[in-house]
């Protein structure tokens, strides 16, 4: 069973399709990245998954069934537009939102205390939300998102507005949730976060799915026919190499269409060149992102 199955959903506002025929599945226990530029349709897709807005057509299944009151309690959702009641105290806020997910008061308080303690926020539990810093508020929101021990956690732009310390704290929290077998879907426009955390990804642009698969698959699909080597030897006159450019302390060798990296390696060894490092040159997701989005623009 998939954690989420999305089949050909479509949502239009007026004449503009915000999400156009998008399909994807999310496996249980993985971190799934939803990436795309601003306004690509990530939030609309997530809101449809949460049944906050209804798709014009298409089907969404959460844990094998249509979303209902019971399955809503198994999801933790951190929206992109998020905030808390300013006048409520931290602990009251946690207990109230936990109660809406079906957690009783005693359990909510106990878990809330544990989670606050881990985030070093326990001394603030009786403060009002408006007295906290923005970053603290965001961590409280993440606690609220996960207090009911959901199986599926959806985080929309979780790192926006966080300083490096809190970003690291949140990344650790996400990894820990994965280790405990939770499924996590996170949307972001920052590719580094995806590369660092995600197993698989879906890239959408202008409401359409443009890339879908494991991070490794996507990268290899977009790899340029090139190798990176570190060497002090003379690289001139090697057959099949069309160009050499320095790349982060190493050299990137562009290969012609008939040459594979294996062939280049053989040729280098034959010439007796000492190689300290040899690897396939993989584009970063950022480069892929820019390439795909750029192509779409043309």
């Amino acid at each position: 069973m998939f954690a989420i199955e999305v089949k050909q959903i479509l949502k239009a506002y007026g004449n503009r399709a915000a999400v156009n025929n998008v399909s994807f599945d999310v496996n249980q226990g993985e971190i799934f990245g939803l990436i795309g530029p601003n306004g690509a349709g990530k939030t609309t897709t997530i809101r449809m998954m949460m049944d906050i807005i209804k798709p014009d057509s298409g089907e969404i299944k959460v844990m094998g069934e249509k979303l209902n009151d019971g399955s809503k309690n198994k999801i933790g959702y951190l929206p992109e537009e998020r905030g808390l009641y300013k006048k409520m105290s931290v602990m009251d806020t946690i207990i109230y939102f936990a109660s809406l997910k079906g957690v009783d008061k005693v359990t909510a308080r106990k878990r809330g205390e544990e989670m606050l303690k881990r985030a070093d926020l326990l001394p603030h539990q009786n403060k009002r939300i408006e007295e906290l810093s923005r970053g603290m508020g965001q961590i409280i929101q993440v606690i609220i998102t996960t207090i009911h021990e959901p199986d599926l956690i959806i985080l929309d732009e979780p790192f926006s507005g966080l300083d490096p310390v809190n970003t690291q704290l949140l990344k650790d929290m996400i990894r820990e949730l994965k280790n405990r077998g939770k499924t996590i879907i996170m949307s972001t426009h920052l590719m580094n976060d995806i590369e660092e955390l995600c197993d698989r990804l879906l890239m959408i642009n202008k409401g359409r799915a443009v890339l879908y698969g494991s991070v490794a698959e996507v990268k290899s699909k977009y790899r340029n026919n090139a190798v990176l080597i570190e060497t002090k030897g003379d690289l001139t006159g090697i057959e099949g190499v069309t160009g050499i450019t320095p790349h982060n302390g190493a050299l990137e060798l562009k290969l012609d269409a008939n040459t594979t990296p294996q062939m280049v390696l053989e040729r280098l060894v034959k010439k007796g060149i000492v190689i300290n490092r040899f690897e396939l040159s993989m584009p970063s997701l950022t480069e892929i992102f820019i390439k795909v989005v750029g192509d779409e623009h043309e």
Binding site: M50, K54, N73, P79, E81, G83, L84, Y96, L100, I144
Partner: protein, 403 residues
């Protein structure tokens, strides 16, 4: 616990804990009680004048011989107007009056004072009247004279067709009760539906809405808010009704002879509660609709005037409603959902409202509430998460069709 119940509890507790709510709920009984106490205490504090005022008079008829001293006033006869005028300008007397020679046919009495006033004080009028009556009725028994001074002490009773005393006896209480109650009802409805509007606006501004909607459906959210705040409003109106009953007892014991005993008829209370609930529910769903389409609490407040102003309309037509309850306009006000609560409260204090009219009015209210509730949940789905932009009428109508 059911999620709607949780929301109801949350909204209720948060509202009754608000300082503004507590102050408003207590303000009415406290201010009224203070008013009553003041009315009892202040007259005792005014020290009665100990000196006896002298009022001169000139009798040109010749029968007003028997002087009078009452209410700290002494009447002093003068032979002629000139003497009296001198006495006045010399400040020997406060004022004087002249009983003209044709008094018996005209009743004309000329009065002269040094200070200008709106009208002669009631003391002076009583003194002069009693003086004239004493002399006019000379020779009659004191009892007759006393009766002539206060000839009528009316006590009327309205009978039903069966000849038994009717529940509504009219009078001062029939006027004042509907008036006070319609204002209280209006305040209670406005307070709680106002909190609803404000709450939605704050949740939009704080961006809490989407977190809420990830746990509950728009329908649960709307129902929870409307009922939770409604329960708070009901507490408010019950506090007011109970204290009104109590205050009226005090008022009746103080001024019972002036205003008659003020009593709240039980069916009046029942109608009051029914129409509070219905009136509130109607306003609440309307406010929720307004709140969902307005980006900020402030903008919502401005837009809500479209619905709050018509609620007050029956107050302007109070005269018409009281004097001509059979008028077609009054019927329309009774049936139109927004004006119905106040109209019915005003009418019910005065006369029996035909049962069919009540049933029609209540049915229309319930149907409108239900219809608006469904439309508002549709608006909720579409606009609760739309920040910063208010949709125009065409977009709203389209979203009714789409959602």
């Amino acid at each position: 616990m059911n999620k709607t119940l949780l929301l109801i509890k949350h909204e209720f507790v948060n509202t009754v804990r608000r300082k503004a709510f507590v102050i408003l709920t207590l303000a009415f009984p406290v201010i009224a009680l203070l008013g009553l106490l003041a009315a009892q205490v202040i007259p005792g504090m005014i020290t009665p004048t100990t000196t006896i005022e002298k009022v001169g008079y000139v009798d040109k008829v010749g029968i007003f011989t028997q002087g009078l001293t009452e209410y700290k006033t002494e009447l002093v006869p003068y032979a002629g107007e000139d003497v009296a005028k001198t006495a006045l300008t010399d400040k020997k007397i406060k004022e004087y009056f002249v009983i003209g020679p044709d008094y018996l046919s005209t009743g004309l009495v000329q009065r002269y004072t040094l200070t200008s006033e709106i009208a002669p004080s009631s003391t002076v009028q009583t003194v002069i009247k009693d003086f004239l009556l004493n002399n006019l009725l000379k020779g009659n028994s004191e009892e007759v004279i006393a009766r002539a001074k206060s000839p009528l002490n009316i006590d009327s009773t309205t009978l039903t067709a069966a000849g038994t005393p009717a529940a509504r006896q009219g009078g001062f209480s029939a006027l004042i009760l509907p008036y006070i109650f319609s204002i209280l009802l209006m305040m209670a409805i406005f307070t709680s539906s106002g909190y609803l509007l404000q709450g939605l606006g704050e949740e939009k501004e704080n961006r809490v809405m989407e977190i809420l909607l990830s746990s509950i459906s728009p329908r649960q959210l709307l129902a929870g808010k409307v009922l939770g705040l409604g329960a708070a409003g009901l507490v408010q109106i019950v506090v007011w009704l109970i204290s009104a009953n109590f205050l009226m007892k005090i008022a009746s014991s103080t001024w019972g002879n002036v205003i008659g005993s003020l009593q709240v008829p039980p069916e009046f209370l029942i109608l009051g509660v029914i129409y509070f609930i219905l009136g509130y529910l109607l306003m609440a769903v309307l406010m929720a609709g307004v709140g969902s389409i307005s980006p900020t609490a402030r903008e919502g407040q401005q837009m809500s005037a479209i619905f709050t102003l018509p609620v007050v309309i029956p107050i302007y037509f109070m005269g018409l409603i009281m004097e001509h309850p059979e008028n077609v306009a009054v019927k329309i006000l009774t049936f139109f959902p927004i004006t119905a609560p106040i109209t019915v409260i005003v009418r019910s204090g005065l006369s029996e409202i035909p049962l069919w009219e009540l049933l029609v009015s209540i049915s229309i209210l319930i149907l409108s509430i239900w219809g608006l509730f469904i439309l508002t949940t549709k608006l909720f789905r579409t606009y609760l998460l739309m920040y910063g932009k208010r949709p125009d009428l065409r977009e709203i109508i389209r979203s009714f069709k789409e959602a």
